[in-house]
Symmetry: C2
Amino acid sequence: MRSISEHSGHGESVDDRSTKARIRDAGIACIAEHGITETTARKVAAIAGVSPALVIHHFGSMDGLRTACDDYVAATIRDFKEKTLSSGPSLDVLAALRDAPSEPLVGYLAQILSDDSPAVARLVDDLVDDAERYIQQGVESGLLRPTKDPRGRAVVLSLWNLGSLVLHQHVERLLGFDLTDPDALTSPTASAYIGPLYEIYGEGVFEEPFATQIQQLFTESEGTS
Amino acid sequence: MRSISEHSGHGESVDDRSTKARIRDAGIACIAEHGITETTARKVAAIAGVSPALVIHHFGSMDGLRTACDDYVAATIRDFKEKTLSSGPSLDVLAALRDAPSEPLVGYLAQILSDDSPAVARLVDDLVDDAERYIQQGVESGLLRPTKDPRGRAVVLSLWNLGSLVLHQHVERLLGFDLTDPDALTSPTASAYIGPLYEIYGEGVFEEPFATQIQQLFTESEGTS
DNA sequence: ACAGACGCTGAACACTCGTATAGTATATTG
DNA sequence: CAATATACTATACGAGTGTTCAGCGTCTGT
């Protein structure tokens, strides 16, 4: 029972819907919940309510499904970031992403971030690029301090954010705060994580004489090489 | 061919050596290099130069081997940290760990940190505890700033460190710096990561009026609840 | 109305996995 | 020296995997 048009099988950009999309969403959900290695063709098929063979029929292989999921998630994140870009800069790359789409994008990210695929690498690169742009905006508007290494700071901040996401189980166990929860930021337990985070963002951790001491140690070694 | 004594099969603490230890080390090496799901009994056996059945004979099951690896790595890290604890506090929990033991402990950690086992959870808890202790030392000696939430700051800083480790592929791709490299800290590319890190540790990222503004926003909401 | 394409399924294949079992060699114990 | 325990291997089994194939219904274009 095919629902609408979509006669050609390539389904690249827009008319992606119906069963094939349901299988892809099932793959995303399964990966987000159980991880990549636990996501089998039969499980995805069961979630989507189809036969295992249909998964292969639509995506060629399980690797094809994986790629399709990566691409779709990456595209969704990019689209969503473009929409919310106008609402102002943010240091948390995924803050706005948590509540908006119905799919468990954050959980998916948390699962695949540590296992590299080309699509994930490109997505991370994009997130870092956007962070660098956001941060530059913040510097120009006077909210953020300037830095010697804008790119490096964007990379480090982004990867700290994403790393916390990957280790969300430990965050939850230690602070009682689930980063993959859709309404994580409005949770009363959010301050257990965001409090220390903003404190470090605000004043650092080094006391003043020590900070400039280390800072000069790095400007020396960086000036020579 | 058993080498020394070790008649009893429980091999708990010290007399752990010879073939059984070689198999465990092969497991650690395989997990560190290829990840947990790619680590099969046959691969471990091939690395250790034994038959797959011997892996089961010594560890009961692959899950038993996994637990033995977790426990051994955790114990090794704890032992090593006790030794280097006297050399002074450090914010990087794993800095000293990289060069010392011959085994790829950091790579192993990077692989298992995102997949929770009881041993890993305990190890992370210990690392956070130690970090909290280190940080308190730093505060008392005037190197580090005091905080409203010592525990939270220790958790956040530790998990940022460990998260970067899990995402070491992205760090390497974006900054050309391999965190799992045994001599990573002496590498000339190290400053690409450590530079921004120390800058943030030194002065934060928020500009002054903005920092206190957010800080007060959190002291208000924290004072009420 | 007919022909072909498409969505979809059930069953099977080849393969890899963990693990059990039987058996061999070596070392320790009496 | 005999007996027993231990280290170790070869082989096989059952479960689960991705994927293929033949076929069934329905829908589309002519």
